[in-house]
């Protein structure tokens, strides 16, 4: 068999080798992105298990459509987009399902932390998650991309394929809604917001 210069590729397969190298690089990058993809999926679905299912489907879809990934662009943005689209598709498919099911609060886990402060922070966390879970899908996606994943408005607009102004208005509405829930939690159990 004849080989190319650096002996990485048989001459007979020369056209295919760069593609294979790219594929392997993307796979490696994808593995290192997994923790963040899981976090985004956790936020979208409101459940670690559903989130992991979503990450798995997204990885499979991405690897089956690698030809659509443009080398040099951000892999994370591409993955966020695939996940969001898959999630929307899934939500449409099972309309019967209520809005992002939240995981039940694990009372045993809550009791394990001996510091009272940790207990409070865990309780606060579930309130935030509940507030985010109640948002409309489009607002939740923007909120997670910007406030959790740390994307710029421009990057979030690219992921969701929406104008910059829409990112801003959805983000503002989402944050005000979450703020209202947190505020209500802090002061009185009943919602006193108006307008």
């Amino acid at each position: 068999m004849l080989w190319n210069k650096d002996k990485s590729c048989p001459l007979s397969l020369q056209d295919q080798c760069p593609e294979i190298v790219v594929t392997q690089q993307v796979r490696a990058d994808l593995v290192s992105l997994l923790p963040r993809l899981r976090r985004f999926a956790y936020g979208l679905t409101g459940s670690l298990d559903d989130g992991d299912d979503l990450v798995q489907s997204a990885c499979e879809r991405a690897l089956s459509r690698l030809d659509q990934f443009q080398a040099g662009t951000r892999l994370d943005s591409w993955m966020y987009r695939i996940m969001q689209n898959l999630w929307i598709d899934q939500r449409r498919a099972r309309q019967a399902r209520p809005e992002a099911g939240m995981e039940p609060v694990d009372l045993e886990a809550l009791a394990v932390g001996d510091a009272e402060r940790e207990l409070h922070s865990r309780l606060a966390m579930t309130t935030v998650q509940r507030a985010v879970g109640e948002l409309p899908e489009d607002q939740r996606a923007v909120l997670l991309l910007v406030c959790v994943e740390g994307l710029s408005y421009k990057a979030a607009a690219d992921v969701l394929d929406i104008p910059l102004g829409t990112v801003m208005s959805r983000l503002a509405r989402a944050r005000l809604a979450v703020g209202r829930v947190l505020d209500g939690e802090k002061h009185t159990p009943a919602s006193q917001t108006k307008g």
Partner: protein
């Protein structure tokens, strides 16, 4: 909080520092003058801080293996065509095969020269362990042929007219035994009028070239 939507948009961009300098100065002025705008800014800031780490649990936990497998551990489709050295597959989820391979390889080495070379050259030997008592010449020939080919997925069918059975041997893949690099896992299926049986087995090749074969207990296929 009944500001115009565009005001809220500008305020959120102001909080997140995403405005051009000129816009930023304009919004700063609004916030300075308008208590309601200041209240909105406080809420926008507070909710962002509250959400920021709300979903960090996956960052503190190991990634489930199934996701690592989905993302990158699998071999790309065209790889075997290109990579010059055969990729040795591992079967971490088959401890029985690993253990069996190690013991078979040790057996082959232990008896080594003396025992195995006494067998007819190029043949194979059914080593101890459970067998289903139905080994026939046709099966052995099919198994030998499949092992000699050795690539995963290779299937050799056979017909045992004396027993009224037909079956097939399929190579599952190489097993990393740690001791010998020449162990293959295979799968055997046969059926007759009454039964359909599936069993798994392992074959390790000794230096002499002979195969030692061990079959796992068969179970009826559903």
């Amino acid at each position: 909080m009944t500001k115009q939507p565009w005001v809220e948009s500008m305020l959120v961009a102001y909080v997140d520092d995403q405005l051009e300098p000129a816009q930023r100065a304009a919004v700063e002025e609004i916030v300075r003058e308008d208590p309601e705008a200041r209240a909105i800014v406080a809420v926008l800031r507070g909710s962002a801080a509250a959400v920021k780490n709300a979903y960090d649990r996956p960052l503190r936990e190991p990634v489930p293996p199934r996701l690592v497998a989905a993302a990158g551990a699998g071999e790309p489709a065209g790889e075997s065509k290109v990579v010059p050295l055969p990729v040795r597959r591992r079967w971490p989820d088959r401890p029985w095969a690993m253990a069996l391979a190690a013991s078979l390889a040790a057996l082959a080495i232990g008896f080594g020269a003396g025992y195995w070379q006494a067998q007819p050259s190029g043949g194979f030997h059914l080593a101890g362990g459970p067998t289903d008592g139905t080994d026939s010449g046709q099966y052995e020939a099919a198994l030998y042929q499949a092992l000699e080919d050795g690539s995963p997925g290779t299937q050799v069918a056979y017909v045992d007219t004396a027993e009224g059975r037909r079956g097939a041997v399929t190579i599952v893949g190489a097993v990393a035994a740690g001791v010998s690099n020449n162990c293959l896992e295979f799968r055997r299926e046969w059926r007759d009028a009454a039964n359909k049986i599936v069993s798994r087995g392992l074959a390790c090749r000794a230096d002499s070239g002979d195969w030692s074969v061990m079959s796992m207990p068969p179970k009826p296929a559903s």
